[in-house]
């Protein structure tokens, strides 16, 4: 995708993701001719989608349909319209298994289930398998840390003999994709958080000068900016390579940088940033929640270290 096309797509995505109303993101993207755009340059298109989503702090669910699409490409076509149910831990490790021929599900969906078909990661002796198929389920809104996001708690029962099973690599691909997409979104939110805080420090005066002229605040926000730039590079590399290890490192860096950016921004705002009226808390809540998905940064930090320790290998990400 050349720069001009990319800029055009970016502005179209801004409009799509800022659109008020109930229309689903899928419907809005379809109107944009999303499938054609993805066919031309999927990496750039998906990266831009999550970047702009973070930039405008959109709560629309771009992730669920994308992950269902991966399940559909590895398994039955019906998976494309099925709803993915993540474990209650929001991590990549399933918390349900087949017991007496049935699967009892109590997890989280990123949007209200549409059709009566679910995708559920299930633990088994050979690793994680995906169960795709009909389910009797109940669902209720899940407020939690970020009520804007519209998460849904799903309790369901599936009969093991009635579902289609897909093997572990599909789930691995979904986790890798989820992680890079979230890493890009978190980096973009963090970038917005730093930029808004910088803007505030230029406006707000104390002791007769803008508080942004104080070195203490300059250094907080500069440090946050550097971490965000570093995380963004790795996130884009993860999107480009599709590699699971890179995606894990990217998700770790982005979660850490985003939390750090929020900490520095909160301090820069002082009391006003602590009010309900100020919209800072919306970014803060989003960062905390998205960081949890597919593993929070503190967990990933340990997991990366343990993997290095176990393999004795220190792989290099990205090449000249």
């Amino acid at each position: 995708m050349d720069r001009e096309t990319e800029a055009l797509l970016r502005s179209s995505l801004r409009a799509v993701l800022s659109e008020p109303g109930e229309r689903s993101l899928e419907a809005r993207l379809a109107e944009l001719g999303w499938d054609d755009v993805v066919a031309v340059d999927g990496v750039t298109a998906r990266s831009l989608l999550f970047e702009v989503k973070g930039e405008v702090l959109s709560a629309a669910d771009a992730l669920g349909p994308m992950l269902s699409g991966i399940a559909a490409s590895e398994g039955p076509a019906q998976a494309a319209s099925a709803t993915l149910v993540l474990p209650m831990s929001l991590r990549e490790t399933p918390d349900c298994s087949v017991v007496d021929g049935s699967i009892t599900v109590d997890g989280v969906a990123l949007q209200p289930p549409g059709v009566d078909s679910l995708i559920v990661p299930v633990a088994g002796p050979g690793g994680v398998r995906l169960a795709i198929g009909p389910a009797r389920f109940g669902s209720s809104p899940l407020g939690g840390t970020d009520p804007d996001l519209g998460l849904v708690r799903v309790t369901a029962s599936m009969v093991a003999a009635e579902v289609t099973w897909i093997e572990a690599q599909a789930w691995e691909a979904m986790v890798a994709t989820g992680r890079y997409a979230l890493a890009i979104e978190l980096s973009a939110i963090a970038d917005r958080v730093v930029a808004n805080a910088v803007g505030y420090t230029k406006e707000r005066h104390q002791y007769g000068r803008p508080i942004g002229s104080f070195q203490a605040l300059q250094h907080r926000l500069a440090a946050a900016h550097a971490s965000v730039v570093g995380a963004g590079n790795v996130a884009r590399e993860a999107a480009r390579s599709g590699d699971g290890w890179t995606a894990m490192v990217a998700k770790y860096l982005a979660g850490r940088a985003a939390e750090g950016a929020c900490t520095q921004a909160q301090q820069s705002y002082g009391a006003i940033g602590f009010t309900w009226e100020h919209d800072f808390h919306r970014s803060l809540r989003r960062v905390y929640l998205l960081d949890r998905l597919f593993g929070g940064w503190r967990e990933l930090e340990v997991e990366i270290g343990e993997t290095l320790h176990r393999t004795g290998n220190v792989p290099k990400i990205g090449h000249l």
Binding site: V194, A195, V198, T201, K202, R209, P210, G212, S213, F214, Q215, L217, Q218, H219, L221, A222, A223, H225, A226, S227, V229, G230, A231, N233, V234, E237, V249, Y252, L253, R298, L300, E301, V302, E303, I304, G305, E306, L308, H309, G312, N313, V314, K316, I317, G318, H319, L320
Partner: protein
């Protein structure tokens, strides 16, 4: 040197891969490199002397000439080839001679602002036949570089330098020094950059022993030292601009070189065993921050290769370097436990650890970089 590597070194992605593959084969299999793989110097001076051997070998076989222009004795190809050489050397655990770092910082400047010097002197530097150092800091001009006082006064067809320089890396092993001096009035505009011979009357160099026990840097006392007018880099009074141009190379190339070191040293530490659950988080953090540094400096090296001019955003490279360098060595120390402090065979590793403590200080302190990013990248107001 085979003709294969020379043609492979021409710009373009396929060419770079070809160069890197051929280089890796050479560094991995050629027995002449045996004395350099996993070489652990006992002290800085004997280490530098030993590594001159690898400089000669890589020059004579052509490998280190790739990535430098042909008119200056190079074999053509862009700066990514030099970055690839650093990576390939670290992959074989071959220490990068300090001279390469100096070259990476000083020579691009000469190619632009004093091509007559670059063309004549690059081969002798690359081969290690002589060494240069950088002399910018003064006892009263550290972060506040524009306040430097070393005087530069006209004398016949040249100049005389009088003053004191400090924190000059490897000064006591250098024959020449790229020096910033005051040729005019106060502030940025009165500064010039010159290449001064250190082996002449009126120059005294004293090494300074650093906290790891090695003489990493030195003081240079100038008392009427002579510099001919063809040794001015750029025009008289242009020194600040030249120094700023230099910094973009310092950030990109040095950061890239260091990420190669961090990857290698993390692997060495894992190989030594020990650790376990308690150091997993530190290792994970160190590795991820090193990966962030790698991709950022890769991007910068690629921009330099495209001859883009870089702005204050390269300070981000230095900030990411500081985070990665401190995290890496903290993780290594934690991973090895008491062995890090007691194993006589790990003297070299402790030395590198202690050197890493200077990361937030050397080459423009962390505070200076943060102020630059805040004011010139984020657009925050100048301090009152």
């Amino acid at each position: 040197m085979t003709s294969e590597a020379f043609t492979a070194a021409q710009p373009g992605f396929e060419g770079l891969t070809g160069y890197t593959d051929a280089l890796t084969r050479f560094l991995t299999f050629d027995p002449r490199l045996d004395p350099y793989r996993r070489f652990r110097p006992t002290d800085l001076e004997s280490g530098a002397a030993h590594l001159r051997g690898v400089q000669q070998l890589l020059f004579d076989e052509g490998w280190s000439r790739v990535g430098w222009p042909e008119r200056a004795g190079g074999l053509g190809g862009d700066p990514r080839c030099r970055a690839a050489l650093f990576q390939a050397m670290w992959d074989q655990d071959i220490l990068i001679p300090e001279a390469y770092t100096t070259l990476e910082i000083l020579v691009p400047v000469l190619l632009v602002y004093a091509p007559h010097l670059a063309d004549r002197l690059l081969p002798t530097l690359l081969r290690g036949d002589e060494a240069w150092c950088q002399a910018f800091s003064e006892p009263d001009a550290g972060s506040d570089m524009a306040s430097l006082r070393c005087r530069m006064e006209a004398d016949g067809d040249g100049y005389r330098l009088t003053g004191q320089k400090v924190w000059s890396t490897y000064a006591h092993l250098a024959q020449r020094s790229l020096c910033l001096a005051r040729s005019g009035g106060p502030g940025h505009r009165g500064i010039s950059m010159v290449l001064v011979d250190l082996d002449q009357p009126g120059v005294e160099v004293r090494p300074i022993r650093a906290e790891d026990g090695d003489n990493h840097f030195g003081e240079i006392f100038l008392d009427g030292a002579y510099v001919s007018s063809d040794r001015v880099i750029g025009e008289p009074g242009q020194g600040w601009e030249v120094a700023m141009y230099m910094l973009q190379w310092e950030r990109g190339a040095w950061g890239w070189l260091q990420q190669g070191r961090f990857h290698n040293r993390l692997e060495r530490a894992l190989e030594l065993g020990g650790g376990g659950a308690s150091s997993a988080a530190s290792l994970g953090r160190a590795y991820a921050l090193t990966s962030a540094l790698r991709l950022q400096t890769k991007h910068t090296v690629e921009r330099l290769a495209r001859e883009e001019s870089l702005g204050p955003e390269v300070s981000v490279d230095k900030l990411l370097l500081v985070d990665a360098e401190l995290a890496t060595w903290d993780a290594i120390r934690e991973h090895l436990g008491a062995r890090f402090d007691t194993d006589e065979d790990l003297h070299w590793l402790r030395g590198e650890f202690l050197f890493s403590r200077a990361a937030p200080i050397y080459g423009g302190s962390q505070e200076i970089q943060r102020s630059l990013v805040a004011q010139r990248v984020l657009g925050m107001p100048r301090e009152a």
